[in-house]
Symmetry: C2
Subunit: 272 residues, 2 copies
């Protein structure tokens, strides 16, 4: 059972309904312990105002979504590197537990996954150099293999940890049950990560059938992911961060009253 104070609301879950201020107020109203904003919501509010708003709320910040997209221009360009440094600064400004990285997929007009993965590792290395100077942990989020082409070419926890091993301290993983639940190697890899590198843990569910690869995620309990199992694996390593709820749901949860969404998250989390 997850109590509301152990939950964090990823703003993507109510992205169509609420701005950041409304999300912060919603979390407080429902007793949810933390928030994880996306950068567009920060920018909309203004980073300084957003940082003040979050600090004043007393909410924990389980992460900032998201840096990365290193392959967007086909090579590591100054603008990509600088944008990631700004993301680090923003994560610091709001007191985030980590900056979550969605690393980017294949470069434009490219079929070269090996090269994309090289670019990503180089980019993470540069961002990490900067993040270390301001003590912001970098969390690689391995994305489900169905996003390898267009969102992230880091697709398994093993692959993310290989990059962490290569780059050293200050970098770990953000694990979302949606992306990792299928992985036959996940138990071994969560143990390999260990407490220090388990920087974030995200919840939602995998619906059967899934009608849209991007925006048809389910509320916990509506799909087939054995969430208590994966939670027990990260907690066995000592993970004590919040359980962040991130649900992209164009046809269902994004269409509902967000107070109803938050109440349902709380109900479902009690059953996890």
């Amino acid at each position: 059972m997850i109590t509301p104070d152990r939950l964090s609301l990823n703003t993507a879950t109510v992205s169509r309904q609420w701005n950041l201020e409304q999300a912060v107020e919603g979390c407080l109203r429902h007793g949810i312990g933390g928030i994880a904003p996306w950068r567009d919501k920060l920018h909309e509010a203004g980073v300084n105002a957003a940082a003040r708003m979050i600090r004043d709320s007393g909410l924990q910040v389980s992460g900032l979504c998201r840096g990365g997209w290193y392959t967007a221009e086909g090579a590591l360009t100054p603008s990509v590197i600088e944008d990631n440094e700004r993301a680090v600064d923003e994560a610091v400004a709001i007191g985030a537990a980590c900056l979550v990285m969605v690393v980017g997929g294949l470069g434009p007009d490219s079929k070269d996954l090996v090269s994309a993965r090289d670019i990503v590792t180089q980019g993470l290395s540069k961002t990490l150099d900067y993040a270390r100077t301001v003590n912001m942990p970098i969390a690689i989020e391995p994305l489900h293999p169905m996003y390898a082409a267009d969102r992230a070419c880091v697709n398994t926890t093993a692959q993310a940890l290989d990059i962490c091993d290569q780059l050293g301290t200050g970098i770990g993983v953000a694990l979302d049950v949606y992306h990792i639940w299928w992985d036959p190697d996940i138990q071994t890899q969560i143990a390999r990560a260990g407490k220090e590198r388990l920087l974030a843990f995200h919840l939602c569910d995998w619906l059967v059938p899934t009608t849209d690869m991007l925006s048809d995620r389910g509320m916990m309990g509506d799909g087939v992911i054995d969430i208590p199992h994966y939670r027990s694996l990260v907690e066995a390593q000592g993970f004590d961060g919040l359980n962040e709820v991130e649900i992209f749901s164009a046809e269902n949860w994004w269409k509902r009253d967000p107070d109803e969404v938050l109440q349902e998250i709380i109900n479902r989390a009690r059953q996890c």
Copy 2:
């Protein structure tokens, strides 16, 4: 470059347009070297008649699709085991190079992936016992992780080879670029498989965006898979089987004149 005689037509590619007889005649008309029927097409024609038709055609048979579905009833039942033995018999009857196994996903109302994988391994073991008596190679097809819930809980080549290691001789893998292209470990695993266990090699392409998880595969060249790269990996191990083309495409190729589809397959394969 793949010449037509090195191609095999998986009947799924023209499943909406042609029965088995038409597919056999189509292959002969276009100089395609082999065919890989699905069982429904065999049953429709009658297995004995189909076997005769294929033998008389002189086409090679790169595989029979498909056995497996061990988890369909939540436990290994006699009917599941017997159906797989019938599939082995049918593969023998048509002179298939292997019986391709789509192993099944989670059991009904189950979230237990570990248990599903156990059932699958036990089921494969039983089918393999029978298949060895008639010398029919069993080919586990690791399916893309997006099918873990509802089609196959064997989702990586490493996982399939672990099962092969456990079960011994007579079993290997059928690798479809659609299912494996994202895998950061694929080069290592193809080398680990080696010629003896590389039983089939399937072609199509991954479209961006993919609008349907099941029936929106692309024609080779229309997506982002570096097909020559994966072909070179299997051929480096000595794989000399046919290049089997299996395209599920509800909104495009299934709606076209199948002779046009075959001609396009031949054109695209020359560029691979």
